[in-house]
Amino acid sequence: MLSRIVTKLIAGSLLAAVLAPAFAQDAPVRIGYAIARTGPWAGGAQISQEPNFIMWAEQVNAAGGLNVKGKKRKVELVGFDDRSEAETVVRTYEKLMGSDKVDLILPPWGTGANFAVMPVIQKFGYPMIAPTATGRKLLQMKNPYFFAILQQPDVMMNALAEFLKARNTKTAAVIHVDELFGLENLTALETAFKEKGIQIVEKKSYPLGVKDLKPVLNDIKAKNPDAFVALSYPPDTFLVTAQAREIAFNPKAFYSAVGTAFPVYRDKMGPAAEGVMGFGTLNPKTSAAVKAYFDAHKARHKKEPDRWASAHAWAGLQIMQQAVAKAGLDRKALRDAIASGEFDTVIGKVRFKNGENVSTPGVVSQWQSGEFEVVWPPDRATAPALFPKPNWK
């Protein structure tokens, strides 16, 4: 009797010993995030950000799992729709970190959502690498867990000012969207243009979702500036391009902001996109790694990534992956690894200083025959700039 129980116990513990590692291996690394799948932010979020999360998780799992200090573990994404509401963003991250206790988090989409969630990630101590947040205001919060991998407004606007200065541009007109993004970039642009001696002859703000900007564009056309800069969000980026073309306002440099790098911009504008400049970082010609990333994205999602923030989102995931391999899932150690390391990514080497990516320079890109060519700085250029801009087609 006793021996039978002992045998059972031994058999049981043997079984447990055999199963235990298998179970341990099976416990996936849970990675939580909230992102816009519906509502006004969804357009941007579903082009630049979430497709990358999904593709990354699949690739990592296909390769056997995420390397956590030498041990491979599968990853499981726990993603929620934030409905484009800042309150939902904050509440979801509180739930993910506070009660679900996920292992890692990924960022929400957009400057506003990232700004809203920053205090919560600091409270729970989760590092977050944001590919779609720009603004000195965010970095000035000195949140040790927040890392901005996208170029900041001053970096981008300096690049634009240098590009224009190198082409002897004297005057510019600016319109900007009435949001944190537009205001931050406007301040940066004013400083940069003043330094380079470019005079701003007209400056107007407009609300998001505006349906007509022709009266403003007509006023600006009458002032005949060398350069036109629209610090715009996606819907208005399309609107200003279409309406500038409509009234035949064709300055030497035509620059619009978020959305210009989206493939749909080229599809919607057709030949009219030729010569339009905007925020960008790279394109498939930049390197073999970028080409491979574009090909994988197209194969997985049946659509191209954009040529600005998408690759930054991908680079953020690469950094997270490399940091976890080195530091494991201890979040303090992970944060320190991200803060102190230098990482090889699709956008090149990346190093953070005070939470800001200080390795990626400001870039000016321009649509030329269906590709968003990098035209500034010269060492990153994939094509010479079309300057002055050719006539609208």
Partner: protein
């Protein structure tokens, strides 16, 4: 002088687009008191159908307009049969129809919007069609906006004529004033009521089809248009075809001149100031009788 004409013309064209958006809702809410808050969603459906037909099958969006109209008319009949027939029959007064249809409209809004999110995703979509500028008297306008404007004016005038001078129009107006009385004099309300509702949805779809040529589209594009439509029809006077057109054009003009003299950021402020002003002076709208 040319500058001012151009500014006015630009405002009128945008105003035409506002009127266009409001046409369908004017039939539903203005005439039938069915507060279809999902109006913008059907507009979005029309836009997606056109986008799909043009980008996937290469169909000319103008040639596709009748298809959109018929498809959405039938959708409208179905929606009416499933959602609104019961409330129009069981509600004791038009106020109750309004309140109940509002709730149903909200439900429909989420249903249609999320169905489109599931089908086509949240991406911005768009295509280039008739984007070339047409020069009229020195001013330049995109051909697709002119088309939308032309349709808005034509459809408004047609609706005005039908309602005022035809038996059908008389029957529709009679049905709105007194459903039972209309039945007594031999008007087939069981047919007419769903048909007018369906026509409203069809107009929303056509508006969406035309807008998809001008602006890019997303599944969430409808909601702001519903708000615009509500303002326009209230401004013009509920159920008035002429008022709808006038209300839209007035808003467009105010915005264009407001933008020139102040800043586009004040656009909302100006539009609502006009809205409030009109309602203070004429609480039932510009063209209410």
């Amino acid at each position: 002088m040319g500058f001012w004409l151009e500014l006015a013309a630009s405002g009128l064209i945008t105003g035409g687009i506002y009127a266009l958006v409001a046409l369908g809702l004017n039939l539903q809410y203005g005439l039938m008191r069915i507060m279809n808050i999902s109006h913008g969603e059907f507009l979005m459906l029309g836009a997606y159908l056109t986008w799909l037909a043009h980008t996937v099958f290469g169909i000319n969006p103008i040639a596709f307009l009748p298809v959109v109209a018929i498809a959405l008319f039938l959708t409208g009949l179905l929606v009416y049969r499933l959602c609104f027939r019961r409330i129009t029959r069981t509600s004791p007064s038009v106020e109750i129809i309004e309140a109940r249809s509002l709730l149903i409209g909200f439900g429909l809004m989420y249903l249609v919007q999320n169905a489109v999110y599931l089908t086509w995703g949240a991406d911005l979509r768009g295509y280039s069609f008739l984007a070339d500028a047409v020069e009229i008297g020195g001013a330049r306008f995109a051909a697709n906006s002119l088309l939308a404007f032309g349709f808005a004016v034509t459809a408004s005038l047609a609706m005005l004529a039908v309602l005022r001078w035809t038996m059908l129009g008389k029957a529709v107006r009679a049905m709105m004033q007194s459903p039972i009385g209309a039945q007594l004099v031999g008007i087939d309300t069981a047919f007419l009521h769903p048909a007018v509702f369906g026509a409203g949805i069809a107009l929303a779809g056509v508006a969406g089809a035309l807008l998809s040529m001008v602006y890019e589209i997303t599944p969430g594009m409808g909601e702001p248009y519903t708000v615009t439509a509500l303002i326009v029809i209230t401004l013009g006077g509920l159920g008035s075809a002429a008022g709808c057109l006038a209300g839209g054009l007035l808003l467009g003009l105010v915005e264009a001149f407001g933008m020139h003299f102040t800043s586009p950021s004040l656009k909302m402020l100006l539009s609502y100031a006009v809205f409030i002003g009109v309602l203070l002076a004429r609480p039932k709208g510009l063209f209410a009788r």
